[in-house]
Symmetry: C2
Subunit: 226 residues, 2 copies
């Protein structure tokens, strides 16, 4: 599938590399491709600089948000939650119309320090904001409840015996996304319901952050035991 992954933090390149390794035609979307490709400072979470990452993943193209979205059949929103709507607006409503947006971002607000707050909560979610802003796109919230390495390699934690959630209004879009999740190795995909259920999935983040602190690692995931 032709897939655009928007975002060049720790999540975007991780997902892009995994999708590329699975044989998908992947392009990373960023605000300024030249500046992104010139980055030589290490990633925020200790990952390699983007230039070094790209040298090792040269099959993944790098383009503007708009160019990346225009040529893709499916768009992954892996941008910082606080900047997601701006990034998707730069990608362009016309380039997103009819397409599946796999939204893995969290609306974390670090303005008051650590731990971050979530904004919005309760009566809205980033997933819903994106769906409202791009009504012709088909938004599926997923993967936001785990760290990037677990998103693309669930077997790295407890042999893959844990759960991933999908939320969205379009059943066919959830099927397409579930196919990608299975490609990564996810076995327990729970359909929470329409895009309003993204509120629940996003509100998991505060305990995720505390578990990360308590366990001293992000290498864990939620399993719904039943």
């Amino acid at each position: 599938m032709k897939i655009a992954v928007l975002g060049t933090g720790s999540v975007g390149p991780t997902i892009a590399a995994a999708l590329s390794a699975l044989g998908h035609d992947v392009v990373i979307g960023t605000r300024d491709p030249k500046a992104t490709l010139a980055r030589t400072e290490p990633g925020a979470t200790g990952g390699p600089a983007f230039a070094a990452w790209h040298a090792a993943h040269s099959r993944v193209d790098v383009a503007t948000f708009a160019d990346a979205a225009a040529r893709a059949e499916l768009v992954v929103n892996a941008t910082n939650g606080a900047g997601s709507l701006e990034a998707l607006t730069a990608a362009g409503a016309a380039n997103l119309a009819g397409k599946v947006i796999m939204d893995v971002a969290n609306p974390l607000d670090f303005s008051r320090g650590f731990p971050p707050s979530l904004n919005p909560v309760n009566t809205d979610s980033l997933g819903e904001q994106i769906q409202r802003a791009f009504p012709e796109a088909r938004v599926v919230k997923t993967l936001n409840t785990m760290t990037a390495s677990v998103m693309v390699d669930p077997a790295s934690v407890a042999g893959g015996d844990h759960s991933v959630f999908v939320s969205g209004n379009d059943a066919a879009a959830k099927e397409i996304v579930s196919g990608l999740l299975k490609g990564f190795g996810h076995r327990d995909i729970i359909d929470l319901g329409d895009i309003t259920t993204a509120r629940g999935a996003e509100m998991v983040l505060p305990i995720w952050v505390r578990l990360w602190g308590a366990l001293g690692t992000g290498a864990f995931n939620f399993k719904i035991a039943r």
Copy 2:
């Protein structure tokens, strides 16, 4: 141990019965014991009327919030989250001073219908509100992330292979509560940290509610796979 369980909804009697069966000396606290004991209508979640429940659990005494707390070494807050501070105030600060409050309630707000909102969120939690209101008590948030039957019988779901969280400022209080949790059969007790981590545990509720809808049962629990 002498334990007061405050609350006569679906959670309080379930916990009281389980603690009594384990040999603890249990009293249920309620606003008006005479009115509670006279209740013949079924419980809100389809459980037995309180009168019928009490006939089957006559070893559990029923008293006012204050009398129940006064005679207990440990107090379980199993009241409705929206009324918890009022119930604990009725129990009386002097009756709570120095004691462990095991807080299993969630601050759910149904005023806008279903699904409920959480209030407070992000920068505060019911657990913290209780700790602030009763600074001499030792509040431990726990068990709020699962349905009542799973709280007291974790083996009823996936053989008990799932997790329970504790949050609190007092390490000794968390040890005492962990002992009770082990008595119920909980094996994976994760200490999230101080009482501010109750924010994370409480913000799990929105996805719990959606999972309950998606799975068609409350007989599930979160396991932290790692």
